[in-house]
Symmetry: C2
Subunit: 153 residues, 2 copies
DNA sequence: CAGGATATGTAGCATAGGCTATATTCGACG
DNA sequence: CGTCGAATATAGCCTATGCTACATATCCTG
């Protein structure tokens, strides 16, 4: 290994000012990752409620592509966070907070897909990638997307 | 793995053909999420190696914004997956596979930031959001990004 | 070259999110 | 109105990612 001349050893002496910024970005990405499931479930449940009038655990599980027991656990987290309520054997319902979240998430999802298509991404890829990308699009970025799409109309 | 084909039932009315597609998209997003940490660590370690000649656990932890014990565990996973090697008390090194991954990840990261800036996202937001978005950009989408940037030069 | 500061290793704990397996309960219909 | 398949609930078990606390090892510096 080449020996660096840095007095404090190459490891951790000089505090580069961009270091905290990078750590902060990683932290925000972690945060977004942890909110991802809640957002997708809220959006999906809203969709099921709007389409079929009810959201059953089994349908949520099938649409998410997970085992029903997995959906049960995640729905439990949604309950703990005050986003849904559920009656035993009667399906899942969105609270007001849950509905608000679902609305925001759905709007963002659509805008992301639109943007991707606008820059030339094939629709299928756009739909697939948007499912992950959407959770990492901040308000500032979202506004820029809207502006870009507006300008190009 | 097991691909269930549930016949029609009370709650799951008609089998909409887009259902499996949606489950597939969610599944791919989950996969991308699970690869996220490996990609970020590989990129960061490559950066530390290029910049300072060595990648110490403490530096990785600080740049990632996590406790050092957390970095140790993740580096353990990188070892198990054959992406890095490490000598006790001597820092971390990339294998050939690790280097290849880091290169791909870095290129994609830069392209994503470029694309975001090109559509009008403020640089700071672009840098922040790209850290999460990059892990969900497929090859097809990446190619479209490159094409868009090329056309606008 | 001794000691203190820093880095590293390791153990234990928690939560999230997957899974399978095994009850129960519901509800459609013969 | 009883039965049986589908839906629901619950109980483990696993891995991945975080954390704190404490024990060692290394490395600077006086
Ligand atoms: Mn999503
Ligand atoms: Mn979505
Ligand atoms: Mn990243
Ligand atoms: Mn990156």
């Amino acid at each position: 290994m080449p020996d660096k001349r840095t007095p404090g050893s190459s490891s951790s002496h000089t505090i580069m000012p961009q270091e905290p910024a990078q750590a902060d970005r990683f932290g925000r990405a972690r945060q977004a990752r942890s909110a991802t499931l809640l957002e997708d479930y809220a959006e999906l449940i809203a969709d099921l409620l709007a389409t079929g009038g009810e959201a059953r655990t089994v349908d949520v599980a099938r649409r998410m592509g997970v085992a029903h027991a997995t959906a049960v656990k995640t729905i439990g987290r949604l309950k703990r966070e005050g986003l849904v309520t559920a009656l035993p054997y009667r399906g899942v319902f969105l609270t007001e907070a849950g509905h608000a979240l679902a609305d925001r998430v759905r709007a963002r999802h659509r805008l992301v897909v639109e943007l991707l298509v606008a820059v030339g991404v094939p629709v299928e890829d756009a739909e697939a990638d948007a499912e992950g990308i959407e959770h990492h699009v901040s308000d500032g970025t979202l506004a820029a997307f809207a502006g870009f799409l507006q300008a190009r109309k």
